[in-house]
């Protein structure tokens, strides 16, 4: 991944909103895709950042989150890496199953996967790469 833009964020959930907005503005080729950017990308990145800060880094203010953004004409890719021990994303239950629908949590990774064109975790599970394609069919 060609690291066009890199952010290292403090582990502070109040920094998420501005960071997401900044990354969105950085993607100047994205203006034609306002809806997919505003909904799909914004939600995907926000979920990845809050998981990194809350679970990966366990809300530890000393820890940091690294965000690598790579924009091309075809796609925008963002990798979010936390300093945690990781987890097994395959173990996350489907939040849309009737039994899970009334649970207050468990929708972050589902939304990421549903809204982004590609979601890839590293083996350890402390780094996730989200890809939104700017050409071709929109899935949602």
């Amino acid at each position: 991944m060609d690291k066009a833009l890199v952010l290292e964020l403090p582990n502070d959930i109040s920094s998420i909103e501005h960071a997401v907005e900044y990354v969105m503005r950085h993607c100047s080729s994205c203006t034609d895709y306002a809806r997919r950017l505003n909904l799909n990308f914004r939600v995907g990145l926000t979920e990845a950042l809050s998981n990194a800060m809350l679970y990966g880094n366990g809300s530890d203010p000393e820890k940091r989150v690294r965000v690598e953004v790579d924009v091309s004409v075809e796609e925008v890719a963002v990798r979010v890496t936390d300093q945690g021990v990781g987890f097994d994303p395959a173990s996350i239950p489907d939040p849309t199953l009737p039994d899970n629908l009334t649970k207050s949590g468990g929708r972050g990774i589902f939304l990421m996967k549903t809204l982004m064109d590609e979601v890839q975790f590293n083996d350890r599970g402390n780094s996730v790469t989200l890809v939104l394609r700017l050409k071709g069919e929109a899935t949602v």
């Binding site: 959930i13 998420i16 979920e47 009334t102 649970k103 929708r107």
Partner: protein, 110 residues
Amino acid sequence: MAFQVSKSNDVMVIDVEGQLIVGNRQELKQKVLYELEKGERKFVVNFSETGYIDSSGLGVLVSLSKKIREQEGELRLASLNEDLRTLFELTKLDTLFTIADTREQALEGL
């Protein structure tokens, strides 16, 4: 980013101005639970001024709805824009909530 609480007859209406996200969901939760404890039972959360809800925002609505129903109250949602509605549809939460097109429609018959 602010939650405006107002009363319309016996219904508490909460306008979400800005975002409902991980950073401020506790504030909404506390405001609604405070009114519930004071005896209020009918709630409308109005999203006409809301840019964005994340998964923890959705989560707080689910948990509030449960708490309100336990007290035999009712929570309705109103004025979701297209993006927000998509989020409820994807997560199937549109089947869990009564969602009205406008604040006025949400108030009708509550």
